[in-house]
């Protein structure tokens, strides 16, 4: 595995070095993101909606609507941080946060 990764041209650094960066993108499949969300206290209800760790309610995407796991595009720290798999949802996020 490590050998293959090396051949494919990946950079190899330890996590301590990686975490020194201010901005980091972690790219995973939906299931892996759910696993991370669960570890930080979120959950998924029986209809597939993401439930907040803070108030046990369905989280809202930045379009103001509840968001299902299969609609998820990205999770970004901060408020209104659940971005749908929709470029307009991401654009709205950029408009609110990027200079």
């Amino acid at each position: 595995m490590e050998e293959l990764a090396k051949k494919a041209g990946f950079i190899h650094k330890d996590w301590d070095t990686i975490l020194k960066n201010k901005k980091i993108d972690i790219v995973m499949n939906n299931e892996q993101i759910v696993a991370v969300l669960k570890k930080i206290g979120h959950s998924i209800d029986e209809d597939g909606y993401i439930i907040s760790s803070r108030n046990e309610k369905r989280v809202l995407s930045n379009d103001g609507n509840e968001i299902k796991l299969n609609e998820l595009g990205a999770v970004i720290p901060g408020t209104k941080n659940f971005i749908k798999n929709n470029i307009a949802s991401f654009s709205q996020f950029l408009a609110e946060h990027e200079q």
Partner: protein
């Protein structure tokens, strides 16, 4: 600048219408889309996580679950209220979405004609206009499939308001608007807060008032559209326009014109037809303006 002025000025300005890496060349990766044997072998595993530290196009590969210290960092950041998310933070991105946001973010940060008025705009309008610029770029690249997807996304996220603003931009109706307010903002002693309030109000009203601009699209019923146009004539509107792009939509627009022929005369409108004012990505464009003779003789 009044609304009719903006509309009429726009009418003449239709020019606008219109993770993995390749090992051979770093920085030119198309994550998850390469099929070389090495990459296939890696992506045969389901538990792969790609991590892109700031500014790096080459990812760090994580094989197993994220370690505890990373989860702790994510947890800490996600509960922070004062985090400057534009400048810091760990973003979790689905692999299906990564390529889309990379392309968009690249386009988003390019200099553009709307840069001067950006500081005046509400986030919503800023985002829709940036998406409209993206649509324009995709059209130039003849990426019609992606254009459809982006327009669908605009409609889903912003509803009719988003679709309308995007169409107004594409049809050139906002050119004079952008030009005018770009000049205003550079003036000395301008009250930017008041100007911003005014610009957003104007945009909102323009969108609201654009009911008299008809953009013919797939699935439109010609009788229904013709009926809507005649209803507006009864009002009467000083200016109306019909836009169509592509062979079938143009055919529809011409049929609509035929249906409302008598009403055009009855309600005293002057027609101006423009065929192919500009060719946008190979698609023919058709534009008809209807000006009320009584209001604008």
């Amino acid at each position: 600048m009044s609304l009719p002025e903006l509309v009429l000025s726009g009418a003449g300005i239709l020019k606008k219408i219109g993770g993995l890496i390749r090992p051979k060349k770093r920085g030119d990766q198309r994550a998850l889309s390469d099929s070389s044997i090495t990459q296939r072998s890696i992506f045969g595993k389901n538990e792969i996580t790609l991590v892109y530290p700031q500014g790096q196009k080459v990812p760090f590969l994580a094989r197993d679950e994220l370690p505890k210290e990373v989860i702790a960092k994510i947890k800490e950041q996600y509960s922070k209220k004062n985090l400057d998310v534009g400048k810091e933070g760990i973003r979790l991105i689905t692999n299906a979405f990564k390529e889309d946001i990379n392309r968009y973010q690249k386009e988003y940060s390019k200099p553009s004609t709307i840069d001067d008025i950006i500081p005046l705009l509400d986030h919503k309008y800023k985002s829709i206009l940036k998406l409209s610029l993206y649509v324009e770029r995709l059209l130039r690249d003849e990426n019609h499939e992606r254009v459809k997807e982006v327009k669908r996304d605009i409609s889903r996220h912003y509803g009719k308001e988003g679709t309308t603003l995007c169409r107004l931009y594409s049809a050139g109706y906002l050119d004079k608007f952008i030009e005018y307010f770009s000049a205003q903002i550079s003036k000395k002693n301008i009250d930017k807060r008041a100007l911003s309030k005014f610009v957003n109000k104007e945009l909102s009203e323009f969108i609201e008032e654009s009911k008299f601009l008809f953009f013919i699209q797939q699935g439109d019923n010609i009788i229904h559209v013709a009926h809507k146009i005649v209803n507006q004539m009864e009002d009467p509107r000083p200016f109306m326009a019909i836009h169509a792009s592509g062979y079938w939509n143009i055919k529809k627009a011409k049929k609509i014109l035929k249906i409302i022929e008598e009403d055009i005369e009855k309600y005293e409108y002057r027609i101006k037809e423009i065929n192919n004012p500009v060719k946008c990505s190979g698609s023919p464009i058709y534009y008809i303006s209807l000006v009320n003779k009584k209001v604008a003789p």
